[in-house]
């Protein structure tokens, strides 16, 4: 009854695409988180007026569609003659994109730590660095981690857009197979299932962490 021309090596082709999706996500989220924490701490530390230029740039990154950013960055790297591969361009754009959202999450996390707690830490003789790493970080992490997991999954899903600048990630791999086999529905269902299997368990984990931690909150 059900008949398909999809072979095992075609499936492997799709899985290689999925591996590229995961690789781009991992690099971008790692770099974006480091940048995002840096930007978030800077924005919190210098106050809204001095941070205005940085806030504006990060705001642009969040208000311009990712696809347009990718096209612009790709065009720019040819103009500037940087000779970057599409993979590098994708990772750079996605990292900056991630950092823009991450800095908001980090700022929210830092602001959730009561000022009196930090003053208490400083009056006990802790330096700014000790206060940040021993007091603020553990408390802010609880607030920020669920949103950060959401952000990671968002970047994983948004990384599908890199197909436009020529990377063969999961969705592009499926498209190539569709062009060859002419079975769009079946192949797309497989692609969707792969995305779903990556995303759903992690999303559930995030939900559970959020619920567990809220129960332990005193309020």
């Amino acid at each position: 009854m059900f008949d398909t021309a999809l072979t095992f090596s075609d499936l492997m082709f799709m899985l290689r695409g999925a591996a590229l999706t995961l690789a781009i996500t991992a690099v971008s989220v790692a770099a974006g988180t480091i940048l995002g924490i840096t930007f978030g701490v800077i924005r919190h530390q210098v106050g809204p007026w001095f941070a205005a230029p940085l806030t504006f740039v990060l705001d642009v990154l969040r208000s311009v569609p990712l696809l347009i950013q990718l096209i612009l960055a790709n065009a720019f790297q040819s103009i500037a003659g940087l000779g970057w591969s599409p993979f590098v361009v994708s990772c750079v754009v996605l990292s900056l994109y991630t950092s823009a959202y991450c800095s908001e999450i980090v700022r929210g996390g830092i602001q959730a730590v009561p000022m009196v707690t930090r003053r208490a830490a400083r009056s006990l003789g802790m330096t700014w660095g000790q206060d940040m790493s021993h007091i603020v970080f553990p408390m802010a992490l609880r607030v920020a981690l669920p949103s950060w997991i959401g952000l990671t999954l968002g970047v994983m899903k948004d990384s599908a857009l890199v197909l436009w600048i020529g990377l063969i990630e999961l969705l592009r791999a499926s498209q190539i197979l569709i062009t060859r086999l002419q079975e769009p529905l079946f192949i797309l269902i497989i692609a969707g299932a792969i995305y779903f299997l990556i995303s759903f368990p992690i999303a559930r984990l995030g939900d559970r962490l959020e619920k567990q931690w809220r129960e332990n909150d005193p309020s």
Binding site: V60, S63, V64, P65, L66, L67, I68, Q69, I71, L72, A75, F76, I79, A80, G81, L153, K157, D158, A160, L161, L163, W164, L171, S174, Q175, I178, E183, P184, L185, F186, L188, I189, A191, G192, Y195, F196, S199, F200, A203
Partner: protein
């Protein structure tokens, strides 16, 4: 480095076409939001329904919309529905895809908002003689919209950004589509897309600020 001459005048001269594109972008986003909100209300109610089939259908819709890329959903509408003999135009594929996505995300927002409304509100409305539908539409829905207004306006900004995915399925009338159209004619990729980025930024910002103003005006009391 920079062995390239920028031709900004060419891009700047094309602004009326980009503005037309921006209107189409807004149109798609607004329509997708209206459809999305309508479906999301149904989903949010079905999510907490006592009938298992409704609940399962709502959960599958919400989880599918939230756990797969928006681009995948647009592909599914554009290429996947072809298997059932449904061949939609890029405009419709984009609209249906974004509406599907919006509905999934908004349903979760609305569910949270519904949970925040005390159940005594429904009971009070019912004991005043209202029917279940009346009580939901007149008492619960207005309160739900009030709680969910700002998250929903964020979703509207997301919808505007998502319309740019239309170019991947061959849409050529929205802001990104018009830009791509001009781009393939002139090969001034950077100039045209930079201008489009300015347009997107302006639209997204004005929607965000507009929503804040409306919220401030509506929810003063």
């Amino acid at each position: 480095m920079f062995d390239y001459t920028f031709h900004w005048h060419q891009a700047l001269r094309a602004w009326p076409r980009l503005l037309e594109g921006a209107l189409v972008t807004l149109e798609v986003a607004v329509l997708s939001m209206i459809i999305g909100i309508t479906i999301a209300i149904v989903l949010a109610v079905a999510r907490t329904s006592n009938v298992a089939i409704f609940r399962a259908a709502a959960i599958s819709w919400i989880e599918l919309a939230r756990n797969t890329p928006a681009l995948f959903q647009i592909y599914m509408v554009h290429f996947g529905l072809g298997a059932f003999g449904l061949h939609l135009s890029p405009y419709l594929s984009l609209l249906v895809g974004i509406a599907f996505n919006n509905a999934g995300y908004l349903a979760e927002t609305f569910r949270g908002a519904l949970r925040a409304i005390p159940p005594t509100q429904t009971r009070a409305a019912r004991s005043l003689g209202m029917g279940p539908v009346q009580a939901f539409v007149l008492i619960i829905l207005p309160q739900m919209f009030r709680i969910a207004f700002l998250p929903a306006s964020n979703q509207m900004v997301w919808a505007i950004l998502m319309t740019s995915l239309g170019i991947i399925v061959g849409m050529n009338t929205d802001l990104a589509g018009v830009t791509q159209d001009l781009n393939v004619r002139t090969f001034r990729t950077f100039e045209f897309f930079a201008l489009a980025a300015v347009f997107y930024y302006a639209i997204a910002k004005s929607v965000g600020i507009g929503a804040r103003l409306i919220a401030w005006r509506l929810f003063r009391y």
